[in-house]
């Protein structure tokens, strides 16, 4: 993960899969943004402000459009349980599952998330 940006207007790219939201202008450079809702099959909620999490996969950078950034976690290795099947989420995208303050969280496998849609 590189940085977090506010939601930016994206230019649609025709012909590509729905999970690609489009191109945004980040301080003069172009960034392809993926739609987190589509990728994780989660419904959109009207109250979400939206944000873009910039991730680096190999040498390429992508934006991941999310509903909101809740918190930053520093997760100690031992608090992460092995990945388990979760209802509604593709298990292949889940690296691990953890719990903090009684709330469950998922550690996403960004490579697996992005791999099917990045260019060759």
């Amino acid at each position: 993960m590189r940085e977090i940006l506010p939601r930016l207007p994206a230019t649609r790219i025709p012909g590509v899969v729905e999970a690609i939201e489009g191109l945004v202008n980040v301080r003069g450079t172009l960034l392809t943004v993926l739609d987190g809702h589509v990728l994780l099959s989660q419904p959109r909620r009207a109250e979400d402000e939206g944000a873009i999490v910039v991730v680096e996969v190999g040498s390429r950078r992508y934006g991941l459009g999310v509903a909101q950034v809740v918190d930053f976690l520093e997760v100690p290795e031992h608090s992460i349980a092995e990945r388990a099947d979760l209802p509604g989420i593709d298990a292949r995208l889940v690296k691990a599952v953890g719990i903090r303050d009684g709330v469950h969280f998922i550690v996403l496998d960004i490579d697996a998330l992005v791999a099917p849609i990045i260019g060759t």
């Binding site: 191109l23 392809t32 099917p116 260019g119």
Partner: protein, 621 residues
């Protein structure tokens, strides 16, 4: 030096070479297309010449020299081999054998005048130097002293009158001078020096931190230097007023400058939008002024990057010569339009595609001399590499007058793969290109070592497209094949037309826009079951941008502008919802996602800061 003790060695080694000459001549006569024999012959005769000259056997050296001239002319395809040539060469080898024996025995006989004349006539006159030295001054430099600022001066160098190869010696002197500074001009030119068009007096113009003494000393290390004199730079200026002062700039620096100008243009565009919205006359005025200044600056930076295509072309004559030798073919290679200029960054990328196409032409296009003659053509094939300037692009053409593409064979191959129902008659040039540009495609019956297994057109196609250019083919069976590469003048900054469709904006590079017209539903017709428009009595295939990009949004307006795209002689009509004007755009890199359609050529950031996609005109045709 007493060379007598080497006489036995000379005789033994010469005999060996002469015997191998006879063997090679026989082989070659059997198969005139086999070029290895010629190379071996040349080396043997050349060796005998060198040994003879060193021994002081002028008769041997003279005769060998004339034979060498003929062999060299044959090797470079300047003259053709026929029955008479073989006869002459056999005679000459015999004569050389006698001369060697006589000389070794201490009886230097006179030369055979008739043979000499015959050899000279067969060689078609004295050979000329061919390698080019224009790149010589590009050599690596080192500055040894940094105590003083570099000082410009003219240096006059005199090469000794009794020196051999004074031109090459002079070039060596220039090379030496370059180790202490930057040489900006050489008189006579390096090309003239190489041709020995030189009276021994060389003038160079250079910038250097070294003292005159240091410069003179380093120049003298080139050898055979009689004198080194220094003149004030002004005398050069009066002697040749048309010569501009030059400095060398690192290409990386020009690249950075270009990038900066690109960003400046994006910022300028944004300022223009703000000024227009502000309704503030002084701000609008300032914005206009900045626009003019930036445009001027852009033009200067682009101009400073323009380089004649000749810089890339100059490596090909040699390549074709070597290829024709390896392939046993006779090929004349012509170059046109070397002075046409292209952006350095494009020029750097265009060499490889050209190389592949020229290799293809030599290998698969031009036929062997006997095949050509059977087909009623001259034994010598021709490859032409030509550059022409068009509106905002440059066209590079590689043509050969060879066998052309065999459509029937091509179809047979495609049919085996079950991919086409076309007939040789209906297979268009575009179809041909689509087939041969497939990775790894090869129709060559025997896969020769030259262009390898199909790599060629596909590589050329990929590279050219990456430059925002296009590749076309025209081929006629028995008449030859022409490849056309079209590239924009410059890569970084493109003038584009902004079009709207379904509320989205797309940029269309102006280089490929022929004109814009109003969409007239009455002009709609059909072409091969697809929609077409009649524009100026020409039926053009038609694409609706909103359908192409699957744009939703408002319904299409009644009045719709139509952009006529043109690549080469091919045109297509692109119907859009609205045109939003022209803008200089900087094509920005981005990590393209999988499945991005081919008609998206790139992306850019518009004046208002929003990203927009750039359409690739060639992919729409």
């Amino acid at each position: 030096m007493d060379v007598a003790k080497y006489a036995a060695l000379f005789l033994a080694e010469s005999r060996e070479h002469l015997s191998s000459c006879n063997q090679l001549l026989l082989e070659w006569e059997q198969d005139p297309a086999a070029a290895d024999a010629l190379g071996g012959l040349f080396r043997s005769i050349h060796t005998i010449k060198g040994m003879g000259a060193t021994m002081g056997f002028t008769g041997v050296a003279e005769l060998a020299h004339r034979m060498e001239n003929l062999l060299d002319a044959l090797r470079h395809g300047l003259v053709t081999v026929d029955v008479g040539t073989f006869q002459l060469l056999f005679q000459a080898v015999d004569a050389l054998g006698r001369a060697v024996e006589d000389a070794a025995a201490g009886r230097e006989g006179g030369s055979d005048a008739a043979l000499t004349v015959a050899l000279e006539a067969a060689a078609g006159g004295p050979p000329e130097g061919v390698a080019d030295v224009a790149t010589l001054v590009e050599g690596k430099r080192q500055h040894r002293r940094s105590t003083d600022a570099p000082r410009g001066r003219s240096v006059l160098i005199v090469i000794r009158g009794d020196a051999v190869m004074r031109g090459a010696r002079a070039i060596l002197a220039v090379r030496r001078a370059e180790t202490l500074g930057v040489v900006s001009a050489v008189r006579p030119s390096l090309a003239q020096l190489e041709r020995e068009e030189f009276d021994g007096r060389l003038a160079i113009r250079m910038e250097s931190r070294a003292s005159d003494e240091e410069l003179a000393a380093i120049i003298r290390t080139a050898g055979e230097v009689e004198a080194v004199r220094f003149e004030e730079p002004s005398s050069w200026a009066t002697a040749e007023p048309e010569r501009h002062r030059q400095i060398r700039i690192d290409l990386d620096r020009l690249d950075r400058l270009m990038k900066q100008v690109g960003e400046l243009i994006v910022a300028k565009n944004q300022l223009g939008v703000m000024a227009a919205r502000s309704d503030d006359p002084p701000l609008t005025e300032l914005s206009d002024r900045i626009t003019r200044l930036v445009s001027g600056m852009q033009a200067e930076v682009i101009a400073s990057r323009m380089t004649p295509v000749g810089e890339v072309f100059e490596r090909f004559p040699r390549l074709v010569r070597d290829l024709s030798r390896d392939l046993g073919k006779r090929i004349r290679f012509d170059v046109e339009g070397e002075d046409i200029e292209l952006d350095r960054s494009i020029l750097d990328e265009i060499g490889d595609p050209l190389l592949h196409l020229i290799r293809n032409a030599a290998d698969h296009g031009i036929e062997a001399p006997d095949v050509r003659q059977q087909a009623g053509k001259s034994a010598e094939g021709r490859i032409l590499l030509a550059a022409t300037r068009e509106r905002n692009s440059v066209t590079l053409r590689v043509s050969d007058d060879g066998r052309g593409i065999d459509r029937a064979a091509l179809l047979a191959k495609v049919r085996r793969e079950g991919q086409s129902d076309a007939t040789p008659e209906t297979l268009s040039d575009d179809d041909v290109l689509r087939v041969i540009a497939r990775p790894g495609f090869s129709t060559a019956a025997t896969v020769s070592g030259v262009s390898g297994r199909g790599v060629g057109v596909d590589v050329a196609m990929t590279r050219v497209r990456a430059l925002g250019g296009t590749l076309e083919i025209r081929s006629e069976a028995g008449r030859g094949t022409t490849f056309l590469i079209r590239v924009p003048l410059t890569l970084a900054i493109v003038r584009a037309l902004l079009a709207e469709a379904g509320g989205e904006r797309y940029a269309v590079p102006l280089a490929y826009v022929a004109e814009t017209v109003e969409f007239d539903p009455r002009a709609v017709t059909a072409l091969r079951n697809r929609e077409a428009l009649v524009v100026r009595e020409q039926v053009l295939p038609t694409v609706h941008l909103r359908d192409l990009v699957n744009a939703g949004g408002r319904p299409a307006p009644a009045r719709r502008p139509t952009v006529i795209l043109e690549v080469g002689e091919r045109r297509t009509a692109l119907v859009v919802d609205a045109l939003l004007g022209q803008q200089d755009i900087v094509v920005a890199p981005f990590d393209a996602p999988r499945g991005m359609p081919p008609y998206v050529g790139g992306a850019t950031i518009l004046a208002d800061g929003a990203p927009a996609l750039v359409l690739d005109a060639a992919a729409l045709l």
